[in-house]
């Protein structure tokens, strides 16, 4: 008898009694999912769950978020500051005071000897907003170097630059709610199911309620491309040509929203003249999409009562990244699709708080989207902080991608890296490695002591992670959300907030500028800086309490706003952040400067994300239930190409570019075209040994996704040995 067994076996299911659920926001990508962490009766974290009441994720989480609470105790955490004279020596543990005194002294030495800008700071998109603001105060206000940037230059700089050029200011104008209103959506180089699964779910929910056409532009047959109504397998790096051609069709067929153009934009005539050179007959040979399809898509998009575009690294990480963004903005301005429900240009951001660093870190300017170039802004901030405005440089210094060549050139001698791992994440790793060797002094501040870049560090600051800290994130739809402190920092690690605050005391201006003691007090300070006539980045109505109550509030949310909802969209009134309030239509000319496949290097080398890993794997590589889905580097290669080269499925190959080589496992799949390989970028000593990373002229963002490689056979046993050696985690 199967059912009625008199003596049934006991049922044991892990039970995790939770004493208290604490509110946080996910610390991985920029979707901004709300997570509740369950603290058990012994004060330890026992579980976590998506917050069902949060508008962003509505209870859902992706694999990384679901397993995120395992981070706190993961392998390789730094629990003590480390110090050494030369990077070739062994690290010695030390006290915080000593590590900081020594570092401050070194910074001052370098600045005195080589000039203020000879010490550079490169931060991240992973910290909390209050920490970014504090870091900005420290770097801009106390250390005073102009070579200060965030690793957002590797991911979102082109979006920032494109937004600024088109709309006069950064800040994505749309929101996830637009999926529910749009009549046509176009995704450029954005693979939501892999990169932003929860945003994908919001899109899927909208499409299950009401089907609307989805057009996906991607050289690879991603899951999103597969689910699209129309997939445009574009030639890498030629998105501008496709968009120009679409604009040509729209304008020549009179499908544009002339009233909107006339009322709210500048530069239409120049745009019209430029795109005239990109008729579909000509464009098809460049972008690889046939003329009929270009016309079809252009008409579909222009005729939709509301149409929206999203994009991610497929646009940003190319030599025409900023132009690509501006051109997507052109498409939406010309069709009148900005600031209305379902009509928007929505960049899908990478890091959890890339927005926070853009808004408040002073990397590319001064806090609250203020510009170094504007005397009034310098004055405002200097007065607010209580320092001399002349202390500020009068224009922005080098970006991350220019700081490294400056190290190479001997102009920058010292570097402070905060939660970023350029030895893995920067293109052309062989060159980057040499640059690190040249540094006189390197501070690495990171959650993990085994992050690859610590190989070259002189001082290592162990940092707290995620809910070991407290503060805010801003997500891709401008929603400010809160991370509550849930547990104490691991070992003797400290919050980034504390590290910056304590470092400031070691500089002259640090004794002048007031550094609030808590993140919440810092947030209150930032609120004061966000108030101003016509400012979009206004958070003055927010407070920690309100944010938690609302589970995130979108800016602008001005003081005195009724209810707990910020503005879902920017520019709904057609007024932009430019001098005359009109958006700029920017004529984009395509210059083909990519390293393209040729006889010697016959394959495009494309790179991208896999869902189970985040960035350089420093966190997800430690979590078995994430890492097991791709524990070692691999590439996708078309089976026809593989057959020609005699490459077997699941065998090792060596990829060679003009920069270096990499050894990966071959995965044969028709997902990629015959002349392309795709490699996940997360692995150390892998794709970035190959990449060229030509820089976008506006954003200085590297074109990670376009370079050429060849494939060589490799001794399988040797390759396997190398693979194991390169996998410490």
């Amino acid at each position: 008898m199967l059912f009625g067994r008199t003596k049934r076996k006991p049922i044991v299911i892990p039970s995790k009694p939770v004493k208290e659920w604490k509110y946080t926001t996910c610390n991985y990508c920029s979707t901004g999912c709300a997570i509740e962490i369950g603290v058990g009766y012994d004060g330890k974290i026992v579980t976590s769950r998506g917050h069902a009441g949060a508008d962003v994720n509505r209870g859902k989480l992706c694999i990384k978020g679901i397993l995120e609470h395992e981070l706190f105790q993961s392998d390789g955490r730094g629990d003590q500051p480390l110090i050494r004279q030369r990077y070739q020596d062994d690290f010695e543990p030390t006290e915080w005071d000593h590590a900081m005194d020594h570092s401050a002294e070194k910074i001052k030495d370098i600045q005195q000897k080589y000039g203020r800008d000879a010490f550079a700071v490169v931060s991240t998109g992973q910290l909390l907003t209050e920490e970014f603001y504090t870091l900005g105060k420290l770097v801009r206000g106390c250390i005073g170097t102009n070579n200060y940037d965030g690793n957002t230059t590797l991911c979102m700089a082109s979006a920032v630059s494109g937004y600024k050029r088109s709309f006069g200011s950064d800040g994505p104008p749309g929101c996830y709610g637009d999926f529910e209103h749009t009549e046509c959506m176009m995704a450029f180089g954005s693979n939501l199911p892999e990169q932003h699964p929860v945003i994908y779910w919001r899109l899927k929910e909208a499409r299950e309620k009401r089907h609307f056409p989805l057009i996906v532009v991607d050289p690879r047959v991603t899951m999103l491309a597969q689910f699209a109504d129309i997939h445009l397998p574009i030639t890498p790096g030629t998105d501008c040509v496709l968009i120009n051609s679409m604009l040509q069709v729209i304008i020549s067929e009179g499908l544009q929203d002339q009233a909107y153009i006339d009322a709210h934009t500048n530069g239409f005539e120049e745009l019209k003249a430029t795109v005239a050179d990109y008729d579909p007959i000509t464009a098809q040979h460049v972008c690889g999409i046939d003329e009929d399809m270009i016309r079809h898509v252009a008409r579909l998009y222009a005729r939709a009562p509301a149409a929206m575009s999203i994009w991610t690294m497929g646009i940003n990480q190319s030599t025409h990244g900023s132009d690509g963004v501006a051109n997507i903005n052109n498409l939406n301005l010309v069709t009148g699709n900005i600031g209305k429900p379902g009509g928007t240009s929505l960049s899908i951001t990478g890091q959890c708080n890339a927005m926070g660093t853009r808004e408040w870190s002073s990397c590319s300017g001064l806090p609250g989207y203020r510009k170094l170039e504007k005397p009034q802004h310098r004055e405002e901030i200097a007065n607010f902080w209580g320092i001399d405005p002349e202390f500020f440089p009068k224009q922005r210094g080098l970006t991350q991608t220019d700081i490294f060549p400056a190290i190479e050139a001997g102009e920058v001698k010292g570097l402070w890296l905060v939660a970023t791992n350029p030895l893995t994440s920067m293109p052309n790793q062989p060159r980057i490695r040499k640059m690190f060797e040249k540094l006189e002094f390197l501070i690495v501040q990171d959650v993990y002591k085994d992050v690859e870049t610590t190989d070259y560090a002189h001082v290592y600051f162990p940092a707290a992670v995620w809910a070991e800290k407290e503060g805010c994130h801003t997500n891709t739809e401008r929603r400010v959300n809160l991370v509550r402190n849930v547990i104490a920092p691991y070992g003797n690690s400290k919050t980034d907030f504390w590290i910056f605050k304590e470092m400031s005391k070691r500089f002259d201006n640090g004794r002048v500028i007031a550094f609030p003691e808590t993140p919440e007090a810092t947030f209150e300070e930032m609120k004061q800086l966000s108030v101003g006539e016509g400012r979009t980045l206004d958070i003055s109505g927010m407070s920690y309490r309100k944010i938690e109550q609302a589970r995130g509030i979108q800016w602008p949310y001005r003081e005195g706003t009724e209810g707990l909802k910020g503005e879902p969209r920017l520019y709904a009134d057609g007024r932009f952040q430019t001098e005359d309030g009109r958006a700029n239509l920017i004529a984009v000319k395509f210059r083909d400067n990519n390293e393209k496949p040729d006889e010697d290097y016959p394959f495009w080398c494309n790179s991208g994300r896999v869902v189970e890993h985040f960035h350089t794997r420093t966190r997800t590589g430690k979590i078995g239930n994430c890492n097991k889905f791709s524990p070692t580097p691999y590439m996708e290669i078309n089976p026809d190409a593989a057959e020609e080269l005699g490459i077997a499925h699941q065998s090792y190959v060596r990829l060679v570019s003009r920069r270096g080589d990499a050894v990966v496992l071959a995965q044969l799949t028709h997902r990629v075209p015959r002349n392309m390989v795709f490699i996940p970028f997360h692995f150390h000593d892998c794709v970035n040994r190959l990449t060229l990373g030509l820089l976008d002229p506006y954003s200085r963002q590297p074109a990670f996704k376009q370079c050429a490689v060849r494939i060589e056979q490799v001794d399988q046993a040797e390759a396997a040995r190398l693979n194991v050696e390169r996998r410490a985690f």
Binding site: R8, K9, R49, L61, E205, F629, Q650, R671
Partner: protein
């Protein structure tokens, strides 16, 4: 609140100190502002499922299972408020929608705290077409809580229960002794054998969530809107079909699994797997996808003798040793009983009992080996707990019976044994015959001998039944019977020959008749095995199932070893037949010896092949996860030493 619940709360409070205040003994805490997608929402429920089985489990059990019975999850006596808790529930998978994002797997891992090398739910995929007309179909699969739970029936320890609550098939790791038989019979790879813990665990349907009206964790976590759950045969909102099969999914007729699919997108006619299994799925004229061989490793033939060694080595030895022992005893015992010239004389010699003892020793050794194969060998005694259903139990019982009666037979035959009698005399100073009359023991000894053979026959039969597994098509062929019976015959005859012929020769008795008879039995055994092998190879190469893929591996990866075994076995038969026709002399004896060695070699290689070749019907894997090829590679190169790779290293 009933008394059980109150008592439970009291105990909880006593035990816990600063533990949860048990104001509510709900099995699961529903999230604040939980969304509709997480709640079960079955309104109308059919009477019967498509196989004609009652969906109401109380009715199905003819009221034997009471309604409103507690599941005692974690000893909590609370009874869930779910109105449909006595209905058979099922997963619903919209294959068109799955994005392969692992949210279901990780939600399951988080909830059930499974280590990286295990997963109650796994996502794999099949893909087809040519760029850019390419499609990947991801498949998320866990336990299907089948109408006919073959795991439950196969489990010798009765660790499984199919509950009248939700129709959940649950397994108790504390009962399990880690034989892994459930992992063989399940067509879906649902039971997870943990080589580190030495036990199996599996999907528990999140019955704790179901009790409070929530869907399982994996379903609630799905961000592709692919996975759903509810009373079986109910089609969720916004879905229109409920198929029982998609490409890559095994024949639902094996177990009547409680899963339904929507898969409406047209797929390429050939869908391939990215894992190492040489299987692809081809669309037939009815639009169904059938497994075919995907010759991933080309056509070249290899030896790969070292790869013949596997986790199942103890079973290679167990089956061969026990079969040989049974044969050897059967021939000498029955030969003596039937007064067959040569064997009758042998039975009178002092070496008859040692041969029987050798048989006992061989079986004992085999059984010991098979016990070491268990994850928890000290729990071996649990192997008889499911005689009602499990062929493993019956096999064990048969073999144990054989050993028991064989021991009695030996004991009762001892007094008649001249060697033993001599020892007895030397040790005790009195004749053993003064204690018992050896003649009087003859009949009981014979009865025990026959009973031993009866048990052996049952043991052998169920040993064969153990491998007739629909989820393992390479095994599910009558060739298993010919292999096992053939080995029993040929190896049994060989063991008997090795003892009988020298004994007779030394005793100066004629050996011809015994040699001819045993030699003929050896030939019969080999011939039976060869006939089986021939048909097996023929059927497998023509088959439309994973057996064909196994046969492909047999002919390529192990092609040379396979060829050698076949040729040697054929030669054994031919040479033996030739030897039967000539007068025995010392050279002929040496030739028999050589045949014997060759036969042992063939048997070892053949049986090892039998175990390593089987490709189960389980779901396609991914490039790393659930890919046997990668797992093997990770073990070979040492990558598996990192626990976060999710592959258990070789355990020695």
């Amino acid at each position: 609140m009933n008394d059980d619940v109150k008592q439970f709360q009291a105990i909880q409070q006593l035990e816990s100190g600063d533990k949860p205040p048990c104001e509510s003994v709900e099995h699961w805490e529903i999230r604040t502002e939980e969304r509709p997608y997480a709640f079960l929402s079955d309104e109308e429920i059919a009477e019967e499922n498509r196989y004609g089985q009652k969906i109401d489990l109380i009715e199905l059990t003819e009221q034997q299972a009471p309604a409103n019975r507690s599941l005692f999850i974690n000893e909590n006596p609370a009874v869930g408020a779910n109105p449909n808790r006595n209905k058979q529930h099922a997963f619903f998978f919209t294959a068109d929608n799955c994005i392969g994002c692992h949210a279901c797997e990780s939600a399951c891992a988080e909830k059930n705290e499974t280590p990286a090398h295990l997963s109650f739910r796994s996502v794999g995929y099949v893909e087809g077409g040519s760029y850019p007309d390419y499609q990947r179909m991801n498949i998320s699969m866990a336990c299907n809580h089948c109408d006919d739970p073959v795991c439950l029936k196969g489990c010798p320890t009765r660790a499984y229960t199919k509950h009248a609550e939700y129709g959940a098939v649950l397994q108790d790791p504390d009962t399990c002794f880690g034989c892994g038989y459930c992992t063989w019979v399940c067509p879906y790879n649902a039971p997870q054998l943990d080589p580190i813990m030495g036990q199996v665990s599996k999907c528990n349907m999140c019955v704790d969530r179901l009790e409070v009206g929530l869907k399982p964790a994996c379903v609630s976590a799905c961000v592709g809107n692919a996975l759903d759950f509810g009373v079986v045969e109910n089609i969720p909102q916004n879905r229109e079909e409920a198929k029982v099969s998609i490409p890559g999914f095994p024949d639902p007729e094996i177990t009547h699994p409680n899963i339904r699919f929507q898969q409406m997108k047209e797929l390429p006619e050939e869908m391939k797997r990215t894992d190492s299994a040489p299987v692809k799925y081809h669309k037939d004229k009815h639009g169904d996808y059938k497994p075919r061989v995907d010759p991933k490793q080309g056509k070249a033939k290899h030896w790969n003798l070292t790869r013949l060694s596997s986790r199942e080595n103890p079973l290679v030895l167990f089956t061969l040793l026990s079969q040989a022992a049974i044969g050897a005893f059967a021939f000498t015992f029955v030969g003596a009983q039937l007064n067959i010239p040569g064997l009758a004389e042998f039975a009178q010699t002092s070496l008859y009992v040692p041969l029987a003892a050798l048989s006992l020793l061989m079986v004992g050794l085999g059984l010991f080996m098979s016990t070491t194969h268990l994850g928890k060998p000290l729990r071996f005694y649990r192997g008889f707990n499911n005689l009602r259903h499990s062929p493993v139990c019956r096999e064990g019982l048969g073999i144990a019976g054989f050993m028991g009666f064989l021991s009695l037979h030996i004991l009762l035959s001892l007094p008649a044994n001249s060697l033993f009698a001599g020892y007895w005399q030397a040790v005790t100073g009195s004749a053993v015959s003064s204690l018992v009359d050896p003649v009087k023991l003859q009949t009981p000894a014979a009865v025990c001998g026959f009973l031993a053979l009866l048990c052996a026959a049952a043991g052998l039969y169920y040993m064969m039944r153990c491998y007739r597994i629909p989820a393992r098509p390479f095994w599910n062929h009558w060739q298993v019977a010919t292999a096992f019976f053939g080995s029993s015959c040929s190896l049994g005859a060989l063991v008997a020959m090795a003892v009988v012929i020298p004994t007779l020769a030394i005793a100066g008795a004629p050996v011809n008749q015994a040699l001819t008879l045993l030699g003929a039995l050896l030939c019969v055994g080999v011939a039976i095995e060869l006939i089986g092998l021939y048909h097996h190879a023929r059927d497998m190469s023509a088959a439309e199932h994973e057996g064909a893929a196994s046969h492909y591996v047999q002919c390529t990866t192990f092609g040379r070893s396979y060829w050698l075994r076949n040729t040697l076995l054929g030669l054994c038969l031919l040479v033996s037949l030739a030897l039967l026709t000539v007068e025995p002399n010392i050279w002929i004896m040496a030739a028999w010896g050589t045949v014997g060695l060759a036969l042992v070699f063939c048997s070892l290689v053949g049986r090892a092949l039998f175990y390593v070749l089987v490709i189960p019907t389980t779901m396609p894997g991914a490039f790393f996860w659930r890919n046997k090829g990668f797992e093997e590679h990770a073990r070979d190169i040492g990558l598996a030493e990192l626990p976060q790779v999710g592959v258990v290293p070789n355990l020695h």
